[in-house]
């Protein structure tokens, strides 16, 4: 019975002569052994950053956000920049797990679990910024519409900032459910291999008593497919709504209809870069090079060059529209505040242009797409560039607004703003280190599912079959 057939021309997605048991061994093994020294070092650094972040936030709550260098003109600085940056990073996980599932891209199986985890942690980090930017964080629950004793005074459903509340919380919930429903069968695998009492209890609880029954698998498939179908428009909507925070205002440089697609492309661009950064380390440290192959990295680099070019196209369109519209304020925002390298923030605009538009073009070359060290370097560059993008959009548009008397010349962050940002790095990597240690970083069941069509050994075997006469082959392997 051949359920699916994949051409031999395609690169194998799982290298080495693996059978089902070997796949389980390779992926579950890191959970069952003591973590390496490298893990402890990385984990300690992350926790240290997290603690510094917690202290910064503690000061924010105690003294108010006046200790940030924001002022009346520049009311959004590092905080909202970091918020948009982290949310954007999250998008790649959903893209890989949902959109590529609908497009039947087999290579997603190697990277989707870690990418989804990254999504969840990134959204967690993103959420901190608007919450603490509110100032009186203990009243944060006011943002939810509930019948209250203050009138009831409801939230403003017409405001893009409230749409954001709904979008981000829905996005977090749906990503979490999607990730966890996929994780249940894998956790059951860990449970059934567990030797220690603690591990049996821990994974037994987390795996919800999964047995692998055919009926359950049938429902599981239906669930993943529908969740993927829901997550696909959701992920597009989330960054669209984030871009509405800017686009629905009347600030020059923000008030453009191009923002939604431009933000979504940028989000996927930065997210894939972050997936690359993480997975290049993970595959090396956990010894998973046979599952996260060079082919996987090449595929992701292709997405990076595509989305990077879309983003570049959007930058140029913005510049063109600023000129073509003959709107003085737009023109000033783009040609004085941004594209002029001698203006106070000119460096950030050109830094963004270089990191996001020029540098990813090197991925047109196959040699560079398949170079691990170079890809790692580029993934960091791209994320630096995407941070600059959000900084450029936010700060260069508002530091000189319509009223020259309120112009604020220079904004540089205070140590506590930076500390907060570093703290979210701490949160993100602490979560990711724990995930890599205690959860299967690759979807074991999904690898097994594609093993017989995309595994190297099966490809070799099928090569012989394919060399038979074409009609005979078509007869045997037709659907």
């Amino acid at each position: 019975m051949h359920l699916k057939y994949e051409s031999q021309i395609r690169e194998p997605l799982v290298n080495g002569n693996k059978d089902y048991h070997q796949v389980t061994e390779d992926i579950i093994r890191p959970i069952e052994v003591k973590p390496s020294r490298l893990w402890y070092i990385g984990f300690s650094i992350s926790v240290a950053l997290l603690l510094f972040g917690i202290y910064s936030v503690y000061r924010d709550v105690t003294y108010g956000i006046g200790q940030w260098n924001l002022n009346k003109t520049i009311g959004w600085g590092w905080d909202i920049t970091n918020f948009v940056w982290w949310v954007g990073i999250g998008h790649a996980g959903t893209l890989i797990s949902a959109i590529l599932l609908l497009f039947r891209q087999g290579w997603r199986t190697g990277v989707n679990r870690a990418a989804e985890a990254m999504t969840i942690f990134a959204v967690m980090c993103a959420g901190q910024f608007p919450i603490f930017h509110m100032g009186r964080v203990w009243l944060a629950f006011f943002i939810f519409p509930y019948p209250n004793t203050r009138g009831p005074v409801w939230v403003n459903f017409d405001s893009p900032l409230l749409w954001d509340v709904f979008a981000i919380s829905t996005y977090f919930t749906v990503s979490l459910l999607f990730w966890y429903s996929g994780l249940i069968p894998d956790l059951a695998t860990v449970r059934d291999r567990a030797k220690t009492k603690f591990r049996k209890f821990f994974y037994g609880t987390l795996s919800f008593g999964w047995t692998g029954s055919t009926k359950h698998w049938q429902r599981h498939e239906a669930l993943s497919l529908v969740l993927a179908g829901l997550a696909t428009p959701l992920v597009l909507s989330v960054h669209t709504i984030v871009s509405f925070d800017f686009a629905t205002s009347v600030i020059p440089g923000w008030h453009t209809t191009i923002f939604p697609p431009y933000f979504v492309a940028g989000a996927i661009f930065s997210g894939f870069a972050m997936v690359q950064t993480l997975l290049i380390v993970v595959r090396k440290v956990l010894n998973l090079q046979e599952y996260i192959t060079i082919g996987h990295m090449e595929a992701m680099n292709k997405v990076i060059v595509l989305t990077g070019s879309i983003v570049g196209c959007a930058y140029l369109t913005e510049l063109f529209m600023a000129w073509y519209s003959k709107n003085d304020y737009e023109g000033y925002a783009f040609f004085y505040s941004r594209a002029n390298i001698f203006s106070p923030y000119g460096w950030s605009y050109w830094g963004m242009m270089f990191c996001n538009v020029v540098s990813p073009q090197v991925f047109w070359f196959r040699k560079l797409r398949r170079n691990v060290a170079f890809t790692f370097f580029m993934s960091v560059i791209v994320n630096v560039g995407m941070w600059f993008e959000r900084f450029v959009i936010i700060v260069t548009s508002i530091y000189r607004d319509y009223l020259p008397s309120s112009w604020s010349y220079y904004y540089s962050p205070s140590i506590w703003e930076i500390g907060f940002y570093l703290g979210t790095f701490g949160l993100f990597f602490t979560c990711f280190f724990l995930f890599a240690k205690y959860f299967p970083t690759i979807a074991v069941t999904e690898i097994k599912y594609i093993l017989k069509v995309s595994g190297e050994s099966y490809k070799d075997k099928m090569d012989v079959v394919e060399n038979k006469k074409a009609e005979e082959f078509a007869h045997d392997y037709a659907h």
Binding site: H21, D158, T189, G209, W210, V226, L230, K452
Partner: protein
């Protein structure tokens, strides 16, 4: 909770499993379930299972979310506390679209996930009978229910011929932690039939 008797046959390859399923069903035995380490496409049809209606449930949940968002916001802005926001009409449908969409997705996803857990009887701390520990690793485990007319030894031999790598006999409790999962299946309600 009745005890039922099973002959459990393990296969190490789905390509052997499919003909075996066919053979067992043709021979008139009742397959209780097949436990697989990953979703094997077409196995549900080979076992004669009907399609799941989880999608329909998801649609209904989604619709509930749409209606909740629309009526909730409409009620708040037209009846409970009408406000003039930037001169927009109180019932500003275009401005409601983002939240309507988000709640549709949220309700559908959360509802479906919990329905899935309920239907499959999945929850933390739940205890179930596992026929073979390697069913989540590399074995395809077929559990065939025995009646009092079943000759267990014959069935075992039959399974070995069908390509099973391991065959054994188990007595397991049917029924689950909450709800009754297997109402339509004729329960074999005889607790002391081991032998």
């Amino acid at each position: 909770m009745a005890l039922k008797r099973y002959v459990v046959a393990c296969f190490d390859d789905e390509e052997v499993l499919f003909p075996a399923v066919k053979k067992v069903r043709n021979a008139g035995y009742k397959i209780q379930d097949v436990y697989t380490p990953f979703p094997v496409h077409g196995l549900d049809h080979a076992l004669g299972m009907r399609e799941t209606s989880l999608h329909t449930a998801g649609f209904i949940y989604g619709l509930t979310g749409t209606i909740t968002a629309l009526t909730g916001m409409g009620w708040v802005f037209t009846q409970d506390w009408p406000m003039n926001i930037g001169g927009k009409p109180n019932f500003a449908l275009p401005a409601f679209i983002p939240i309507i969409f988000e709640l549709t997705v949220l309700f559908a996803a959360v509802g479906m996930f919990f329905t899935f857990c309920y239907l499959c009887q999945l929850a933390p701390f739940i205890k179930k009978h596992h026929f073979h520990l390697r069913a989540t690793d590399d074995l395809f485990v077929m559990a065939i229910e025995c009646t009092d007319r079943t000759n267990v030894e014959d069935l075992k031999g039959f399974m070995q011929n069908a390509g099973a790598v391991e065959v054994n006999y188990q007595v397991a409790e049917s029924g689950w932690w909450f709800g009754r999962y297997d109402k339509q299946q004729n329960l074999y309600a005889e607790p002391n039939v081991i032998g």
